[in-house]
């Protein structure tokens, strides 16, 4: 079965403010309305990768090319972060 592709949603804008990476929900209601979401390095990296539709495996591959993973936790971290993004509709599956 083909792995699904995900992409970032236009309801969020990404801003780099000082040393911080921030998501600003501009078109959402509910718990994220009128908030600012500060992203750590992992989440900021993911956001940038999902600007164009891609699979989680592709993102993991790119991360391994760019960062060291001496503890071997990178893949779990990325999969966990993707789940969070999907849960809050920051990224959605592209059909």
């Amino acid at each position: 079965m083909e792995e699904p592709k995900y992409q970032t949603q236009p309801e969020f804008i990404f801003r780099e403010i000082g040393k911080d990476s921030v998501l600003v929900p501009v078109g959402v209601t509910g718990s994220l309305e009128n908030s600012m979401i500060y992203l750590n390095e992992t989440y900021a990296f993911l956001w940038k990768q999902f600007q164009t539709p891609c699979t989680v495996s592709e993102v993991i591959q790119r991360a391994k090319e760019q960062y060291e993973d001496s503890d071997g936790i990178m893949e779990d971290q990325i999969r966990g972060a993707v789940k969070d993004f999907v849960k809050f509709a920051v990224i959605k599956e592209v059909i």
Binding site: I13, R15, I17, G18, V22, V24
Partner: protein
């Protein structure tokens, strides 16, 4: 870029001008690291820029200074995060306030703030401390007040400065300041001017643009009205106790874009009708000479034969250098943004005794719009206004002598005389 050599200002003032120019025109990655400036000067500059409300604007540029002290660097990081958070809170509140009013049939436009911030390379760097909304129909003010009251907004009357309209100041449910305007600028002594401005901005909702400001869709003026409003606002603040560099930065980023020639024409007609050609010339010349406003055709303006043009003709004459210098020095000296200048007072449009009397009478009419119609009350109202002036002089200006204040008024009024002419 053909920037003017800045030799007639203090070192930190000159450096600040250079940094603002770099920040408004270069991308962050184009700005190279530098170690020419000592840390003590940089520290003074950081404070000065904060007073001028432009520290967030020069953030990236300042960080390139290798000699910037660690504590200043830390302060900058904290300040930028705080300002950005505030910026978005203001934007969220503006959006929800506008939606609330519109849902209830009240037409409103967003002034200043985000409507101008979107032109900046880093919109969050344009400091905003409150939300400014303009009611397109002044008769909607009662309805707007009722809507706000019914939705958890709190009217603020305490601690308002002179000339404030009690309808104007509100606190949003999450405690941000909102100003509800029925006039774009405070009435002046010139009736023709006031009438022209009121008529010009008697717009229908259709005339507004739904602008995408960082993903938020907000109703703003079209470019000709926006430019006119920016200039009017600077004029109003100039005649009060002056304005800081932030408003000049707005001018730079506005005209560094390509503005439609037809809209520029409308704007220039407004400028002429309101006797602001010289003012436009000085503001624009300052911005081109010192702050990175381009005159090479990459934006709206191009320099030709010693003056400044847009696509359809003359935009403004190049102002005389001494006048440009004096004006910029006045901007630096502005009390609320720059050096502490306790003796600063408003400027008058003329320097004769009649001008002082006219301004005093005008102030009285502003404080007491109804009572001042009765001539018999005027002597008592004048006494009240004079006592209030003395009280404000003591409280706001730290008890500076009246003669120092009047001397400052005279100096500023001489500058005003060169900047403004009578309306047609």
């Amino acid at each position: 870029m053909g920037k003017k050599r800045i030799t007639d200002f203090e070192e930190k003032e000159s450096l600040l001008l250079e940094m603002i120019s770099d920040s408004l025109t270069l991308k962050s990655e184009e700005i190279g690291n530098t170690e020419n400036t000592n840390s003590s000067l940089l520290h003074g500059l950081t404070e000065f820029a904060a007073h001028q409300s432009v520290l967030p604007i020069i953030y990236h540029r300042l960080l390139k200074e290798k000699n910037l002290a660690a504590e200043d660097r830390e302060y900058l990081e904290m300040m930028v995060q705080e300002k950005a958070a505030k910026f978005y809170q203001i934007l969220f509140n503006a959006r929800s306030s506008i939606e609330l009013l519109r849902k209830n049939g009240v037409s409103v436009a967003l002034l200043k703030g985000a409507s101008v911030a979107c032109f900046y390379p880093v919109p969050e760097s344009r400091k905003s401390s409150d939300i400014d909304l303009f009611l397109l129909r002044s008769e909607d003010v009662s309805a707007a007040c009722q809507i706000f009251e019914a939705n958890g907004y709190r009217q603020i009357t305490e601690g308002q400065t002179e000339h404030a309209n009690p309808h104007e100041l509100w606190g949003t449910p999450d405690r941000h300041l909102l100003e509800l305007h029925t006039m774009l600028v405070k009435p002046t002594e010139d009736r023709n001017f006031n009438e022209y401005v009121a008529k010009r901005f008697a717009l229908s909702g259709d005339a507004l643009l739904e602008k995408n400001v960082l993903g938020f869709s907000l109703p703003v003026f079209p470019d000709d009205c926006l430019a006119f409003h920016l200039l009017l606002h600077m004029r109003m603040d100039f005649f009060a106790s002056g304005f800081g560099l932030k408003l000049l930065c707005d001018w730079v980023v506005f005209w560094n874009r390509k503005v439609e020639p037809a809209l520029v024409e409308n704007f220039l007609r407004d400028v002429e009708k309101c006797g602001m050609k010289n003012f436009l010339s000085v503001i624009t010349s300052v911005c081109i000479s010192y702050l990175g406003l381009s005159a090479d055709g990459s934006g709206t303006l191009v320099e030709k034969d010693g003056d400044y043009f847009y696509e359809n003709g003359l935009f403004c004459k190049k102002a005389e250098e001494n006048l440009v210098h004096d004006f910029l020095q006045d901007v630096f000296d502005a009390e609320r943004h720059g050096k502490p200048g306790g003796d600063r007072m408003m400027a008058l449009q003329d320097t004769g005794i009649l001008s002082y009397i006219r301004s005093f009478h005008h102030l009285t009419k502003l404080y007491f719009p109804k009572a001042s119609r009765w001539v018999v009350t005027l002597p008592f109202l004048y006494i009240f206004v004079f006592v209030r002036f003395l009280y404000n002089n003591h409280k706001i200006r730290g008890g500076q002598s009246v003669s120092a204040v009047i001397s400052s008024t005279k100096k500023r009024s001489e500058l005003a005389k060169q900047l403004f002419s009578k309306t047609l």
